[in-house]
Each structure stands twice: as C-alpha cells, then as structure tokens.
C-alpha cells in the first residue's frame, strides 16, 4: 500500500482543476487517477467551440480547453496515472485502482476529491416503448463514435430530448451528411442553452417538437421507424397525436446523472442533484472526502466546473493542513418551492469567507420571480429574476452576515412576483 496526501479520482476538467487548486494552496503529495488514455475527460470528444468564455475570456473547443488544464497540471508536475480504473474505495480512504502496468495499487489517502463526472440517461432508464433494436443511442455515445472513432451512427436521425449534447449532435450529424428530422422534448420548454437552440437547430431548420415524446420504436434488428406523440400535463402520450418518422437512428439527450457510485458505496448520502451531500467547502459528511464538478451536480458550462473544482482543491489543501476542522453542527440548505436542488446541501459557516455561493436550478422556466433565501423561517434576501430557466444553472453569492446566525435551515425557493 502506498500513501498519498491527496487522491483525485477523475482526470477530466473537474479533476484537473481540483488538482491545480490543491497545488496552488500548498498540497504537493497527490495523484490523479484517470480511466482513459488521456487527461481531459469528455472534453476530448467535444470538438465544437463555446468553451472557456469565462475562464479564459476566449472561445475554445473542448480539446483546447482541456489542453490548457493539462498544461497547468504538467507545469506543476502533478502526478497522474492513465488507463487506470478505481475498483474500490473504503471509508478509511483506501483507494484501489488497477491498470495493465502496475496491476492493483492500493493508496491510503489523507484526503480524496471525487471528480468522476456524470453519465447519460439511457433508453432503458426511461423505458421507451417498443423493441430494442440497434440504432438507439445516447448523444454522447454518438459523439464519441463520430469525433473520436470516425464513424457515423446513422443517416436519418431523430433526437429525443433537447439537452445540449443532443442539440450539438443535431448540428454535427447534419454537417456530416446525416438528415436530422427533428427533436422532441417532453417538457413544454427546451432544456438546452439558448445559444445551442439557435446555432444548432434554428440555423439548420431542424424542427423542435415541445411537449412531445417518443411513444413507440419499431424495428427488430435496426431501428426503422419511430412514432412521437404529444403529452398531457402528466407526461402521458395523448392518443391520436402520433406522428411517424422513418429513421435509422434515435439519439437520446434526456439528461445526465452524476456518476456517484464510489461515494454511494461508501455510504455518503445523496442530495436531490443525485450527487453527494456537501458543505460550502465541498466536503461530504466523511471527513476529508470532497466532491466537485458533474459528479456533484450536472453543470451546463465547463467554466463553472473548473471554478468549483479549484475551490474544492483549495478546501482539500486546507484540510490537509488542519485548517478545515469539521464544524460541530452544519446547517441544512434545502431546495424550496420551484427549486430542484441546491449546492451546497449544508453550511458549516466557518472560515473567513465573507460570502457563500449557492448553485441551483429551478424546476421550470419562469418570468418575474423572486429567489428567496429564508433562514430559520425568516426571509433574509430576495433576488428578482425577470427570467429564469432550468437549463441554466444559477449561481448566487449571499453575504455571510445574512446567514451566520442560522440555527437549523436555509431554504432557497422561487416565488412569483405579484402582478
């Protein structure tokens, strides 16, 4: 068994930024464990641009963005292992990984940062009615085939779900010569970033069917046809509204789920984001175990991922120096009316920060609303939002002095402005 101060699981954007954040705050004895042959994670298959506007004040492709962080990791000589899969982790912070060269390696860590990203919800997870032929795949999978392997998954394509990867694949497949016949979204609103709606659908004349879902897939071997239907307010297909499309491929962009198995296996409780419960320092209820990036909650912009992960890295470095003692009591942060989840789930309210960042998503697009912060039942802050949508994660800073007397809970909720 080897020993390390800090083990970072995942060498994508979150893992690399966490490593950099930890290093820049004094940590040295660390190791990044990455499962694929390269650092950079999913950024490597995102060859479109639009990354880095906040972080680098310029527009980069995914691999370019990744490269800048790989350079930062290398400049600091932060050690990493590639092609290495973590197969187990214990509450005592023993991380077991395996690869071809080293065999099985057990690392006893003083601190761990979980940066394992997310995975895509599959056809099985939503039980699309009909057969299970080839030709139904997730957007990220289609992207991987196309951008890293050089293969097209189909010629006539329909897309279910208006998540960003689906929109980006609509454009990408069109540019590669496939015909994208439409996008169906079960919600009455789009789930992608506005810029992707415009640049990936409208610019190419690809129709978007809101409040529609795939009600049937037909094809015994390879997909032959799909049927979409309008849905009612209970999300059930309405009979008589069926539309049929002859397609060989159905691409799913129906949501991302934090890849949180390792923390689950340690018994770390999850929040409504399906990521771990963490406090403002990104520390889970297990001392010295941190979580950040998409394994904590799914982000829409990598720029926000790296900012968050750097903070988690800083916290881990502070923990290693004994500067992050566990608070005797942590205050619950609770998503209230209209709010899907909030990160952090707990506030320790220690340390010298003069404000706290709250990240959350609302459940549905709304206009003229207030976001209310209620401490122990008392409203302490309201922020007016002329428009707010679920597909864009909100980040708000709340001054410490408004929160520091909290005894039990802080509720973040959405309230309609009265007419």
């Amino acid at each position: 068994m080897i020993e390390k101060d800090l083990v970072i699981i995942g060498g994508g954007s979150a893992g690399m930024a966490a490593a950099v954040g930890a290093y820049d705050n004094g940590a040295r004895d660390m190791l990044i464990i990455e499962r694929s042959p390269f650092l950079g994670g999913i950024l490597n298959q995102c060859i479109h641009n639009g990354f880095g506007l906040t972080e680098f004040k310029e527009e980069l492709t995914g691999p370019e963005f990744a490269y800048r962080f790989i350079a930062q990791v290398k400049e600091r000589k932060i050690p990493y292992v590639l092609d290495s899969t973590v197969t187990g982790i214990t509450k005592e912070k023993v991380v077991t990984y395996t690869n071809e060269k080293e065999g099985v390696v057990q690392v006893k860590a003083k601190a761990i940062i979980m940066a394992t990203g997310c995975y895509e919800r599959s056809a099985g997870a939503i039980g699309i009615p009909g057969e299970r032929p080839a030709g139904i795949l997730t957007a990220g999978q289609a992207q991987l085939f196309l951008n890293e392997y050089g293969y097209l998954c189909g010629h006539r394509v329909f897309i279910l779900g208006s998540g960003d990867i689906g929109l980006i694949m609509a454009r990408r497949l069109t540019l590669e010569g496939a015909k994208v016949l439409g996008v169906a979204e079960i919600m009455p609103w789009s789930n992608g970033l506005n810029r992707n709606m415009v640049q990936c659908l409208y610019d190419f004349g690809i129709p978007l069917y809101l409040s529609h879902t795939v009600s049937k897939v037909v094809g015994h071997n390879r997909l032959e046809r799909i049927e979409i239907s309008q849905v009612d307010e209970k999300m059930q297909a309405i009979k008589g509204t069926e539309m049929s499309f002859d397609v060989d491929t159905l691409i799913l962009s129906i949501g991302l789920i934090p890849n949180n198995d390792l923390l689950n296996s340690m018994g770390v409780p999850t929040s409504r984001s399906r990521g771990a419960i963490v406090n403002e320092n990104f520390e889970t209820p297990l001392d010295g175990v941190f979580s950040c990036g998409n394994v904590l909650h799914v982000h829409d912009l990598v720029d926000n991922v790296v900012a968050e992960a750097r903070e988690a890295g800083k916290s881990a470095a502070e923990y290693l120096e004994g500067k992050l003692p566990r608070a005797a009591k942590e205050i619950d942060v609770v998503p209230g009316d209209g709010v899907g989840y909030v990160v952090p789930s707990k506030l320790a309210l220690k340390g010298d920060a003069d404000h706290y960042l709250f990240k959350f998503r609302v459940r549905k697009p709304s206009k003229n609303v207030y976001i209310d912060y209620t401490v122990d039942g008392k409203l302490v802050k309201s922020v007016f939002k002329p428009i707010i949508i679920p597909s864009e994660m909100e980040i708000e800073s709340v001054p410490k002095n408004l929160l520091e007397n909290a005894q039990t809970s802080i509720v973040v909720s959405m309230r309609q402005k009265e007419a």
Binding site: T98, G103, Y119, S122, A123, A125, G135, Q141, N221, N264
Partner: protein, 486 residues
C-alpha cells in the same frame, strides 16, 4: 460438380437454448456425434435470455406433472452444476407472500403442494417475513419460504452448458435454420437454409418454434402459444432492497410479478403475462409496464424505480397442453420432441437433458460413456473476486486483466479475450454483453461500446461497420465519416 453426400450424424438437436444446450451436454458424455443447429447468431438467445433468471424450488407446479418432476430434479442439480459450469448461482430462497388475510389459506395449499412435490418449505408469520425482508409491504400477513429456490445467471448458464458440451465434442452451427425434415430409411434428412444434413436421431428443442418443427414429421395436436412477459431492471446500487426472491400468490396466469435481486446484484421486477400472436414480438408497452410496477409495489412499496436501467420483454413457449412435452413423436421413437418448456424451464433444463439422454435417446441409440469426458468448463478468471495479491500475480502474467473496458460492471480486457477464445462463438456486442456483462450497467454501454465494437472487429478481422449489436442488420455504426472527397 459441387455436391457430396452429407455425413450421417448420430443426433441433430434443433435449438441451442437452455433445453438444447443441456441435452447436448448430457449427450456429450457418450460416444456419439452430435450437432446442434441454432437459427440465431448466439446460444440462449430467445426465451432462455429474457426470463426471471430464477432456479425455482418446485413448490408451485401441480404434483405429478412433468413440470413438477423436472423442476424439483433440476433444482437439486444446481449447486453442483453451478460449480462444474462456473455459473453464478445463489440459493437465496424464495418467499411467496400473502398481503391479504384471504390469501392465508392459499399459502397452506401451496405448502401442501410443496410437500407433495418433495420441496422443503415452511410458513412464516408476518413478523418473520418483516424481519427477513425489511422493505416488505407492512400489511404482509405471512409467506411460504422455500429455501432451495435461487437465482442464476441465465446467460452464462446456457453458454457454459454449450461450451462444456462442445469441449466434449458436440458441434454447434449458429445462424442456420431448419426448413424441412424428412424421414429416411436410416434416420432423417434435415434441410436447412444452408445445406442438407443427415442424422439417426433428431431432437426438437426449438422453443417457441418447436410446434413448427414437430409438424415437419407428422400432424400434432398441440401448439406453442407465445406468452409475453415484460420486466424492469434496476441498477445494483440499492443493496438489501430484497433478500429473497419475492413472489405474490400465483394465479391462473402464472406466478405473478416478482421482485428479486440477480446474481450480479441488480434487481428484476416482472413479468407481465399476456398471450401474443407473433413469436418475434418482444416489444414493451407503457401500460403493461405501469401495471407491473403497480403489482410489484403491493409486495415492496418502495422500489427505487429511479434506478431503472433497462426494460425488456421475453416470450414464454407456453404449450397448449399446459405441461412440458418431453416424448418421442407418435410415429418415430427417434424423433424426440422437447417442447413447451415454459417456466420453470430454466431450472428444469439440466434434468430434462439427463432424461432425454439416458431414457429417450438410450431407447434408440447405444450409449457408451466416453473415457475422457470432463463435466467442467475451464474456470473463468474473475479478477475482482480475487485477493489483491492474487490479482497482482494475474495481471503480471496477463496485463489485460488490469485494463477495465466496462467501467460500470468492471469487466477487464482479459475477461473479454477469455470469452472470445472459448468454444462457443461470441459474435456480437450483445453476445459479449451476455457473457461478460460489459455494457450491462447503468450507462448501458454509453462509454465502452465503441471500444467493444473495435475489439470484436479486430478479433474477427472485420471493420466496425460490420460488427453487429444483435441479429443480422443490427450494425451500430453504419458509415465512416472521414472519407476522402470523391
């Protein structure tokens, strides 16, 4: 001149599902030439693949029926069989649960039936059930516990049975469909979509299509009625949801919707039960699945359906006679029908195989034991089940066991190559998934499928454009993107 007279086999078995594979395995003990013909491109690819993955104890079938006899006999074989074939089997016990007072007499009836069938069983009080199953419906009134019932991996069970048969000399032809059978002086002329074959004995283990095969020889007074069952699969990150196989009280339509873990720690919820017309109809349906969900929740009210990773449907080969048909045809002792093997077919198959070999085949062919018969498959190396030091030794010898292909299910490259090197061909992405679990996890191949396709393409010297997901025509990628401009 391109024709030759076909070689005369001793036996041809039609169908490589659980029944065909176990008949083949039982026959492989003897000095016989056996050919198994399967129309699909993998073994165990229809009914044997999509079922409840249960080794039933045998408390449920009516005493004296073939279902009862072969179920109980098959169940007894499983502990040994699982070792010989290196198949995951867990004798976790089954519980048939009463949730209403009126169902208690039915539990008593089932206990009587279990006794008559020679199956160990006992009644549990509501308190005992709650203690053993903390997530059970709190309204539970009692249950029948059958400790010999268990769970089994149906994919490897069939594949390894066939592998063992082949290691002992049986031949397998995949992708070949029997079109006609003619009685000849010395046996049968079997015409497939590819060639003509001759055999002294023909065994019809054609599952859903066994009535069509039987009719090639003589008129029959039974038929196979495909009966669909739809299921949910949940991920394996909710340990302890249930500890036994939980059944409701059985009805005329079958054993009802069960909730069980699988040998890989997933949970299965299902099946529905509906007769269908089309023997290829494995489509799922929203309303049916919603009904399955509602029924399952009468047993376990808090099933984490947000952990759903897959739905599927299978077709049971329900016989119009309501009992297994395991007998020679009316005219010929050398044409043996093994048909209508619906539930409890999976657990019965090994016992059916033994009976067919030692009784029905023995009546028409001399059985002489092979000297070098080996009942065991070459052990499958499972790195994750080894101690760290042993794993290190293994990876030092074969580094491929250190590289994980499927991250969700932790399947190494070494395990994949092992499977590809076995006697039973593993031709498709789905076949590899069934053997190794690569792609069976929560991301459903989202991350590893491109690598799996590349591995299969390299192994079989084809391009990724030719690699199939499942049946002919089920390619996953269908064009290259970076072609040179014309």
């Amino acid at each position: 001149m391109g024709y030759t007279r076909p070689v005369m086999e001793d036996l041809i078995i039609i169908g490589a599902g659980a029944v065909g594979a176990f008949i083949a395995r039982s026959l492989s003990r003897y000095e016989l030439s056996v050919l198994v013909i399967e129309k699909e491109n993998d073994v165990g690819d229809v009914t044997s693949m999509a079922n409840s993955a249960i080794a039933h104890s045998g408390y449920d079938p009516e005493p004296g029926t073939k279902k009862a006899i072969f179920n109980v006999a098959g169940n007894k074989m499983f502990p040994q069989l699982a070792k010989e074939l290196d198949v995951n089997f867990g004798q976790v016990g089954t519980m048939t649960v009463a949730v209403e007072d009126e169902q208690i007499p039915m539990l008593n009836d089932l206990l009587e039936r279990a006794k008559k069938n020679g199956v160990p069983a006992k009644l549990l009080t509501a308190e005992e059930v709650k203690k053993a199953e903390p997530n059970i419906n709190p309204e539970v009134k009692g249950a029948l516990l059958c400790p010999t019932g268990g769970i089994v991996n149906p994919f490897t069970l069939v594949a390894h049975a066939m592998e063992n048969a082949m290691d002992n000399g049986v031949k397998l032809a995949l992708n070949e469909e029997v079109k006609a059978i003619e009685k000849t002086k010395n046996g049968y002329l079997v015409t497939t979509d590819k060639r003509k074959l001759e055999a002294k004995v023909v065994i019809n283990a054609a599952g859903l299509h066994s009535d069509e095969i039987a009719k090639m020889i003589e008129p029959i007074d039974w038929k196979i009625l495909p009966r669909k069952g739809e299921y949910y699969v949940l991920d394996h990150y909710a340990p302890g949801l249930v500890n036994h196989v939980l059944f409701p009280l059985p009805s005329a339509k079958g054993k009802g919707v069960l909730v069980t873990m699988t040998t890989s720690g997933n949970y299965l919820v299902g099946p529905s039960s509906e007769l269908v017309d089309d023997k290829d109809d494995t489509a799922t349906d929203t309303m049916t699945l919603a009904n399955v969900k509602a029924q399952a929740m009468t047993l376990v009210p808090k099933i984490p359906f947000n952990q759903e990773i897959r739905v599927y449907a299978g077709l049971r080969a329900t016989p119009s006679t309501h009992d297994f048909i395991i007998e020679p045809s009316k005219k010929y002792a050398s044409f043996i029908n093994v048909a209508g093997i619906e539930s409890p077919g999976l657990v019965s198959s090994p016992a059916i195989g033994e009976y067919v070999a030692t009784k029905l085949v023995a009546a028409v062919l001399p059985l002489k034991e092979k000297k070098n018969y080996n009942p065991c498959v070459r052990p499958y190396v499972k790195p994750l089940s080894l101690h760290v030091d042993e794993r290190n030794e293994l990876i030092k010898k074969n580094p491929l066991y250190g590289e994980m292909v499927c991250q969700c299910e932790k399947v190494s490259l070494g395990e994949i190559y092992d499977v590809l090197s076995r006697s039973v061909p593993c031709l498709t992405v789905k076949a590899l998934k069934k053997r190794t679990r690569a792609g069976f996890g929560k991301c459903q191949g989202g991350f590893c499928q491109p690598q799996v396709i590349r591995l299969l393409a390299d192994y079989y010297h084809v391009t990724p454009l030719e690699v199939l997901y499942d049946k002919a025509g089920s390619q996953i990628v269908i064009d290259e993107t970076k072609k040179e401009a014309k």
